[in-house]
Point group: C2
């Protein structure tokens, strides 16, 4: 990921704009992504029982518009969650305003996303007042996109974006994405917003299928703190402006497109983990030799969410005993006296007991920005990979600060 | 809990001794609890798949001795876990040595517990060398018991003990207990050692039943960080030296005994949470109005283990949105727009949205040593209570420190 997107990363027919409408104390807090033409759309939403108003509104709009969307409006600074009927009205009013300003569209052609504090009424009038200038200023250039990636940030320390391209029937197809999210990141549409735009031509059904596959091994394979937010959304618009032929079945073109999409999603997901609140390093937990894929996933997630493991990793401490102990309470049956553990490439535990290693060397290797941890249960053939970050004192100070 | 146990807290027929055998860099690290006569015994062990050698040895000894135990030997400084066959041999050798020194007992009459670092070979010769003087110096007094409570400590900042008595058929019966554990505390025989001694007369079967009941609402209702250790053990010895009649059925005497035992266990469990690594305050999570007891428990545990909730509580931040969001991803179906939340006695969320409250007052109340949180789902009649502690920067620094 280079510092700034360039013109050559942009899919055709999309424009971006941003403004500061006053929801945050300062800085950009309102952003619009628009497609020139109705775009096929797919989205995945949080699986939390507590869902913010914009999640529910967007969900309904996707169905009402038959997955044909013209724009996505995003505000940061307030999640519009647990805000009752006023919250739903605010989300609906926002889409209505954007639809009108974009030119007599139906509100269901607009998706709406919010991120920020929960439970505080949204001052929607601030958004409504800003929409006309937001729509007037939208531009299809890399600078506008870069501003978009900043306007959606909350506790993020840096913008996150990724791009990929692939050829479909001789035509170049572009995929561009960005996301926000730093804490509260957890599998299953976890605590973040991600927006993807592509000029591929693809039916909504196959776009949904491609998105689901790409998300499974990327956004749903990361965790910062095991919490799942109320607003998580990954949305993609595909407007067909590349002129490539339309993907309507699971052919080679579909595979190519899905693979490029997965690449973008993986870069974005890893960027979220790397920017985890207070994080110093990205940890890859790979579980091998599990009795089933589900068991592998369960063990990997339990290890990835163990505060004891994560704090040890913050200290670059090769404390493999905590990793094994965390694996042991994942609810998966295995014989711990068969388990091998590698930390940063070093075999530290063999058959459930310490394998002689140089602690100083291990400590040094674990100070890297990316630390792979491999737990081989040697009890089957399944594997899983989860990415997380270490757990530092800064995570606590970021999250303990009194809101006001 | 007063600062020091007194003679009037001691059950008859138990003695205690401690020594520094060199497993810790300094301080007491070996302790013995012995009964004059064979005592009925019951114990509950960790449910982690990874179980330390002493857990397995004690488990076998309980069965072999038909739950008739004479003593418990405990070392701190090394968990003797993930130490392979040498570890089992070490645990077995320890019980054999104690059994011989106490006077030609069968090794199965001795239980053994270890706590400390995982995966480092146990220098058992240090223990074996110290056992004779340990056995020679055992005394039935409050001072020796106080030393016992200190010798079992690891990252604990203070010893933890509790006592209760009850009358059974006109005779006074005493129950005395102590425990260690500060991090890695989680339900299901979680990451701690607890030892209980009583001069009640009770059959092993009913002692087991009483212990199971007492533990369910106490030790199994606390969590510090969601991790479950490899060595957790709660053991009780009942030697009948009170002269009270033997409990062999579920009568009034059994109920009285169980209730006194539960009182001791609750005090110990809360003392563990209060001494949670880096903890500033004890948090009581009470879930009401859940569709089932299991659902209530699940929601309470999910809230109690949410790092976002725990860090907010460290900052005394009345961030009820995080509590509701954590409840929402517990895997329990409920309508979040019916939920009420009370923080430190203040209604902050009503029917899933903010209820006006004074943030300054709430913040001040949340700075207390004990903060009750009540989440009423208003979706049923079941409830559950879990105790945890807040999550501070100190937790991270305690756990991130490089082991050596």
């Amino acid at each position: 990921m280079t510092a700034h997107p360039s013109v050559s990363d942009l899919p055709r027919g999309f424009s971006f704009s941003t403004t500061a409408c006053g929801l945050k104390k300062s800085g950009l807090d309102l952003a619009l992504l628009a497609s020139d033409v109705p775009a096929a759309a797919a989205a995945m939403f949080t699986q939390n029982r507590v869902q913010a108003a914009p999640v529910l509104v967007s969900h309904v709009h996707l169905q009402k518009s038959r997955h044909k969307i013209r724009g996505i409006i995003v505000n940061s600074g307030n999640a519009n969650c647990c805000t009752g009927s006023d919250g739903y009205a605010a989300a609906a009013a926002t889409t209505l305003k954007v639809a009108r300003e974009l030119g007599r569209l139906h509100p269901s052609q607009i998706l709406v996303c919010s991120t920020g504090v929960i439970g505080v009424p949204l001052r929607v009038e601030k958004i409504l007042r800003a929409v006309p200038r937001l729509v007037r200023t939208h531009r299809a250039d890399a600078r506008a996109f870069a501003q978009f990636t900043r306007a959606i940030m909350t506790t993020d320390t840096r913008p996150k974006w990724a791009a990929a391209k692939c050829r479909i029937g001789g035509k170049q197809v572009y995929i561009l994405g960005c996301c926000k999210g730093a804490g509260m990141i957890h599998p299953n549409m976890a605590t973040m917003l991600a927006f993807l735009a592509t000029d591929a031509a693809i039916s909504p059904a196959f776009l949904t299928r491609a998105l689901r596959r790409a998300v499974a091994s990327t956004f749903n394979a990361i965790t910062v703190d095991g919490d799942t937010s109320t607003n998580d959304t990954v949305a993609i618009l595909a407007n067909g402006r590349s002129g490539a032929r339309k993907i309507t079945k699971e052919d080679a073109a579909f595979m190519q497109f899905t693979s490029a999409l997965e690449k973008v999603c993986r870069q974005l997901a890893l960027a979220i983990v790397a920017d985890g609140e207070g994080a110093q390093r990205v940890i890859e937990i790979e579980v091998r030799g599990a009795p089933s894929p589900r068991a592998a996933d369960q063990v990997a997630r339990t290890v990835a969410n163990s505060p004891l493991v994560k704090t040890a990793l913050a200290g670059a401490d090769p404390n493999w005993g905590r990793i094994l102990a965390a694996a042991g309470h994942a609810g998966v049956a295995f014989d711990f006296e068969r388990v091998d553990i590698r930390l940063a490439g070093i075999l530290v535990c063999r058959r459930g007991r310490e394998h002689p290693f140089n602690e100083r060397v291990a400590h040094k290797k674990m100070l890297a920005k990316f630390v792979p941890v491999v737990v081989d249960l040697r009890s089957g053939r399944s594997s899983a990979r989860i990415w997380t970050c270490d757990f530092t004192g800064d995570y606590v100070s970021i999250n303990a600060s009194y809101r006001t």
